[in-house]
């Protein structure tokens, strides 16, 4: 029954745990099929989610109002300084602008911002329509920069020009543009954290850990970042890449241009957090740092194990489905679930890479199903077929899971408590338990006998 729901064009995007890699590797990184109810977003969305957490930047969306409306203060990135980024700025293009071009309006909008607020940096996002009507956003930005002596950086993000991953890349290019005049500043001892967006204050948790083991943090990109801090990034000796999907490109470029090597880290789950901290200490630290890292991670693990054991009896044997943006997060989640005694039976991503799918395939059991760019119908069919108890996903997946009578955990913008680090393990475990074992399931008609 499941098979019939899957379009011919979609078959190569779906694999099972027993189909090991090689020739039968899952198809990914391609465009969605037209007519699918895709869970994916666009280039602009990718660019916006990466840059938006820069707290004291003006993010001007050049386009009709929708693109700005839908991305207004949805990121859940917390700030310790300015809250400018929580506003929504748009050129609100109207019909006349479409006919005569929007360059003048953009230019005037930048002037209005500069005059009133004297910002240090303005990002200008080019949306779908700007790509089509041919506004020379770069020229407008260049001109404004010269005139006002403030950084005005174009973000080339017309929605149709690729997919969300391409938007990440465009955001990274904008960051590189911001860093350019500072590329050659002298190196100091310390790391940059790339690809944590400070959702629910997660960046603060990670910074605390690095502080515990004695590793200085120079810049954070882009969670809780501000202009003055971000331009110091080229002085770091090492980049830590957390969200690999969005930040590997930036890390590679920074290696090339600024001579900063990088390592990939993950702070989701005990295993990944511990390994990451030790690897960071080994990569840049002294013997003392390494000792501290081992000691700290051990003490945190010792603290957590009894708590996890307490929950295990309520979670063991349950089945999980995962549908998240990137492959790296999916991998961490599978490991976390394993530790909780929960088997991952469905795992999908919007923008996973072949090498990530390879790891995923090796981590899951033979019966698990792996999907790239899954649509709700496929998710529904496989979650039912595999009898999943909980889905981990984002905002669009939540109501779908609930309607299917499946518990849910938001591991995206709308998480309300930190899921990273050791604190995150506690929160995650509690949340999974809360949702799977909520008394409300007893009242669902299907499970009740009248």
């Amino acid at each position: 029954m499941t098979k019939s729901l899957i379009l011919e064009e979609r078959k190569d995007f779906i694999k099972f745990g027993f189909e090991k890699t090689g020739k039968t590797a899952i198809k990914c990184e391609s465009n969605s099929v037209s007519g699918a109810v895709s869970q994916r977003a666009c280039v602009y969305c990718g660019a916006r989610v990466v840059l938006n957490p820069i707290t004291d930047a003006f993010h001007i969306v050049h386009g009709p109002i929708g693109c700005a409306s839908y991305t207004w203060d949805i990121r859940g990135s917390l700030t310790s300084g300015s809250d400018l980024y929580r506003n929504s700025f748009s050129t609100d293009l109207t019909e006349q602008d479409i006919v005569f071009g929007g360059e003048k309006k953009l230019s005037a909008a930048i002037d209005e911002v500069v005059k009133k607020h004297n910002p240090k940096v303005i990002f200008v996002y080019a949306t779908c329509i700007v790509g089509v009507i041919g506004d020379d956003v770069e020229a407008v930005c260049r001109h404004a920069e010269k005139e006002h002596g403030t950084r005005v950086i174009p973000v080339k993000s017309p929605g149709f020009s690729g997919n969300k991953s391409y938007g990440y890349k465009m955001a990274c290019n904008a960051i590189l543009e911001l860093l350019k005049p500072h590329n050659d500043i002298p190196k100091t001892h310390g790391v940059n954290i790339l690809g944590d967006f400070n959702l629910a204050g997660e960046m603060w948790i990670i910074k605390n850990y690095l502080n515990e083991i004695g590793i200085p943090v120079i810049s954070t990109i882009t969670g809780d970042a501000c202009y003055d801090n971000i331009i110091k990034a080229p002085s770091a000796r090492l980049n830590l890449v957390q969200c690999a999907g969005s930040m590997t490109y930036l890390a590679k470029k920074m290696e090339e241009k600024m001579n900063i090597p990088f390592i990939k880290v993950s702070f989701f789950g005990i295993e990944d957090t511990t390994q990451s901290l030790i690897r960071i200490a080994e990569a840049i630290g002294t013997e003392e740092n390494i000792r501290k890292a081992k000691q700290f991670t051990q003490s945190q693990t010792d603290r957590l194990i009894p708590m996890l054991e307490k929950y295990k009896s309520r979670l063991e044997g349950k089945k999980a489905a995962i549908y998240v943006g990137g492959g790296f997060k999916a991998i961490s989640l599978i490991r976390q679930f394993n530790q909780m005694g929960i088997e991952t039976v469905v795992v999908g991503t919007q923008t996973g890479k072949p090498e990530e799918y390879e790891i995923i395939t090796n981590l899951v059991s033979e019966n698990a199903v792996i999907l790239d760019d899954a649509n709700p119908a496929e998710l529904e069919a496989f979650m039912k077929e595999k009898d999943a108890d909980i889905l981990v996903g984002g905002v669009k997946e939540r109501p779908l899971a609930y309607k299917l009578g499946i518990a849910f955990c938001d591991h995206n913008h709308e998480r309300k408590h930190a899921l990273a680090g050791y604190e995150g393990v506690i929160n995650f475990t509690k949340e999974i338990n809360q949702s799977i074992n909520s008394p409300v399931w007893d009242y669902i008609k299907q499970k009740t006998e009248f």
Binding site: N31, A36, S38, C42, G66, A68, E112, K116, V395, K396
Partner: protein, 454 residues
């Protein structure tokens, strides 16, 4: 936002800050979701559909299904015709709706895709429908998109057989499922045979059954939409939302319409009920009279909490006008009344209300934004803020009691189940408003002034 807004107001011509509207396609999608077995289809980039679905899911806490043409660079150069053909075929094959309701986006509009021609060229399965509407995001707001999609259905499907079906068509405007249920309850009490179009109740407030259905039970059915052309008349609720589709139906099928205020508050609900009673020539049932009496009773009980209190109201035009009427009836002063949707008719209607109730120094603005509203409030504070979730930052910054009403509400539950329309809806708003004002009084009260009985 909490700290940025300066008090001094300076002219802005090009920069929109903190919008009080969004774009057409999400309105079109919401209208299409009010049709039974219908799949909304977004003809443009994936991001649009993704954002609209997310936006609706956040407000309704329900899945909002819609497919997309998934434009890529190629489509934006060579046109979206082949994407749409593949898309429609795939949607019928895999999701099997009865209707696909296509709306355009700024992208497909600008490259000049001719949807009428595309659809004419398609092989549409027997008994199925494909309809479309043009919803360029750079014109109007989600309200325009909403009524444009209604017009799309009417253009494609409504038929006049020359024989009346004895029904009254109700165009409910851009309201919540809870409001639609309230309208239907009143219509049934008044014994008016009706077609509700569109009707998101049952779909965007579907019950939990443990089974997911892509097309839940509710929605206006195909025969009902076709039958719009045979209706006796249309009650088009919301002067700025429902006129366009009513007009189109009149031109196409000669069905006359009455353009009415959205029935929010006592007077507007009275007018709606009177209109219904003229249709059937029936007495107004005691049940409704009783509800009206209860509403008036509660407003009287609490009137000193409301009297001369200043309110700022923002959101969609007809909702804002309705809420303005309601607060005027409660003795409050709608100091600032603002919608993001363009159109000077809004300002005129609001000014008429100020005049009718004899209030002065009130400001109404269309095509405004919340940054400006915040500046107004900084210059002269109000006692209550009434609008969508986007008001919460202003409310917090200025310490103003805040009541949520309208679209979108992203930070509360069950709001879309409860009406603001009709006497029952007004009673709910009165309770929310009184509660917000009294909560603040309690919170700010010194120990000596703090009382159990208020």
């Amino acid at each position: 936002m909490l700290t940025m807004t300066p008090k001094e107001i300076s002219e802005r011509s090009s920069l929109r800050i903190n919008p009080c509207k969004t774009c057409q396609p999400v309105g079109a999608m919401y209208a299409a979701l009010g049709v039974h077995n219908c799949m909304p289809h977004s003809h443009g980039s994936q991001g649009c559909a993704s954002y609209h679905r997310t936006f609706l899911s956040r407000h309704f806490k329900e899945p909002a299904m819609a497919s997309t043409s998934s434009f890529t660079e190629g489509a934006s150069v060579f046109g979206g015709g082949s994407n749409l053909r593949t898309g429609v075929k795939n949607v019928f094959d895999i999701y099997n709706p009865d209707i696909i309701a296509i709306h355009t986006t700024c992208l497909s509009e600008t490259i000049g895709d001719d949807l009428t021609a595309f659809i004419q060229d398609m092989d549409i399965p027997e008994g199925k429908y494909v309809v479309h509407t043009n919803t360029p995001s750079y014109v109007g707001s989600h309200i325009n998109g909403f009524y444009n999609m209604m017009s799309g259905f009417i253009n494609y499907m409504a038929e006049s057989t020359g024989k009346s079906n004895g029904k009254t068509a109700i165009f409910p405007g851009f309201v919540n499922p809870g409001d639609i249920r309230e309208l239907k309850r009143i219509l049934k009490l008044m014994k008016v045979p009706f077609t509700m179009f569109p009707d998101q109740s049952g779909i965007m407030d579907a019950p939990m059954t443990g089974n997911y259905s892509m097309y839940p039970k509710g929605g206006t059915t195909i025969p009902e939409i076709v039958g719009l052309g045979d209706c006796e008349k249309v009650l088009a609720l919301g002067e700025l939302t429902s006129e366009e589709p009513a007009n189109i139906l009149e031109r196409k099928c000669k069905v006359p319409y009455s353009l009415m205020q959205l029935p929010i508050g006592i007077e507007a609900t009275d007018k709606f009920v009177m209109e219904l009673s003229q249709i059937t020539n029936e007495e107004i049932p005691y049940e409704l009279e009783e509800e009206r009496g209860q509403l008036v009773d509660i407003i009287l009980d609490a009137h000193f909490y409301f009297h001369d209190k200043k309110v700022a109201i923002f959101g969609d035009p007809d909702t804002v006008l309705g809420l303005t009427r309601l607060v005027l009836e409660m003795g409050m002063i709608p100091k600032y009344v603002l919608t993001g949707t363009p159109g000077e008719a809004f300002v005129k209607l609001a000014n008429n209300l100020f005049e009718q109730y004899g209030v002065s120094d009130c400001i109404a603005k269309a095509s405004g934004d919340l940054f400006e509203l915040h500046q107004w409030i900084k210059n002269e504070k109000v006692d209550l803020l009434l609008g969508t979730s986007y008001g919460k930052q202003i409310a917090k910054a200025e310490d103003i009691p805040f009541v949520r009403a309208g679209f979108p509400i992203l930070d509360r539950y069950a709001h879309s189940y409860s009406p603001i329309l009709g006497y029952k809806g007004a009673l709910r708003m009165v309770e929310l408003i009184a509660g917000a004002l009294m909560d603040k009084q309690d919170r700010d009260a010194s120990d000596e002034e703090f009382e159990i009985v208020m």
